[in-house]
Amino acid sequence: MSTAITNPHDQQLDRRSFLRVSVTAAGGLLVALSLDLPAAAQEGGQPPPPPKVYPPDAFVHVRPDGKIVIQVNRLEFGQGVQTALPMILADELDADWSQVVAELAPAGEVYKDPVFGIQMVGGSGSIAHSFTQYRELGAKTRAMLVTVAAKRWNVAPDTCRTEASVVRGPGGQSARYAELATDAARQPVLATVRLKNPSEFRLVGKKIRRLDSRPKCDGSLKFGLDLPGMKVAVVAHPPVFGAKVKSFDDKAARGIEGVRDVFEIPVTRGGTGVAVVADKFWTAKRERDLLKIEWNFSDVERADSSQLREKYKQLARTAGMSSVARGDAKALEGITAPNRIVAEYEFPYLPHAPMEPLNTTVRFAGDRAEAWARFTVSDVRPDGDC
């Protein structure tokens, strides 16, 4: 799908303009997003980039044992993308769905969201931005397999059919994808390929069971906290954002068996906290609870709940940014009514809080580190920050 959002009136797209343009763009697939994304913001004012050619083998591996392993360029957090994107690819590929294995792709250039230009999940972008991408990957892989089979049988590729990981020739010949895979890998990747007519879909649009349901029902699917062989670190956070450790007493902590180390670390919003590292969680947690920490609150922003509430109330009475304008709210003011009800509704701060606690696992090996976490944005910069 094209991302050409050329609006002659927008010389420089600021965040507001990007929101407007994306909502009115043809196709309506881009959802208004409030992230400040330099790559996406630039795209709006420039000509569309040339179509990317993704190397299929970074995304799909047709194995000699018949399994078809598909890399998903998103994080699966329950939204189903780990099933949906493989469905799309497998449909165009005409793969045997029962042999499809879906893996979450590691950090990598080729796994960036084609529209946003960074590797991430969010903004309802997974299917919207990767639908055509995954279709093409599936179709191109299929084309390479068919080319190999057609050559072997000395027939024209378009006389061959495919279904359930098998290529069938016009004269009754057949070959499994697994047998053709090695030779297919030597085929050049086509720049363009014919995609299915939606009426030909066998998976897309059908009710298909999630690939990850069963392991989530029997406890076998591994979440971040389930990885083996870890040390565990538990952090004593300051009671207020930005507070710092003035001093801490870890005498009680160090005496306990299994505690590896106790030290001060930077935490969010310029604060510092104390980390306890141990062989097991309960050890780390208990020792964290026994730490005696004195906090330095001098740099902390002096927030006052009642003052903030007053400020928010005032802001709520001023005109804000229009997200959707339908009808005429002003017309209501002119209407006389015997009872006029005015109400203010307060909502508490509601974070996205899934049951899985925040956690990150890092494995160091010499000068390399492997990190497993719930990164919604896993773009890795050249200096190693991510």
Binding site: R209, S213, R214, C217, D218, G219, L225, K285, R286, E356
Partner: protein
Amino acid sequence: MAKYQLNINGQRKEVTVDPSTPLLWVLREDLKMTGTKYGCGVSACGTCTVHVAAVATRSCMFPVSLIGARPVVTIEAMGEDPVGRVVQDAWLEKDVVQCGYCQSGQIMSAVALLKHTPRPTDTNIEESMGGNICRYATYVRIREAIKVAAQKLK
């Protein structure tokens, strides 16, 4: 540190741990059984639910020193359990799971409910399952799946 003999899913296991260690962490770290999840650590969410002497129990707050000889059953055993298997199949049939993190606990609570109340009403379901929380609100499908399982178990 103390030694404990535990009955886990019908097998005898011996662990040497601090007596204050909750069952959850004995399962996850000493016995390497990570199917039971840690959600809150204060019995407020239900992700850690296991069965202790057939009672749905929050393993995060239950020190190993209080278990004694009572049999402990975890999510890992549900596939071989006649009620557990039907519940898991119902979960699949109704497409219950999303992220899945709460589902071990949900299934353990549901199995305990069905074993005590084979024909649960909506009120039974709410009362027994209301303490297992799910950020993705799979509650409606959980209720349907419990009813499907109850039907199949008739």
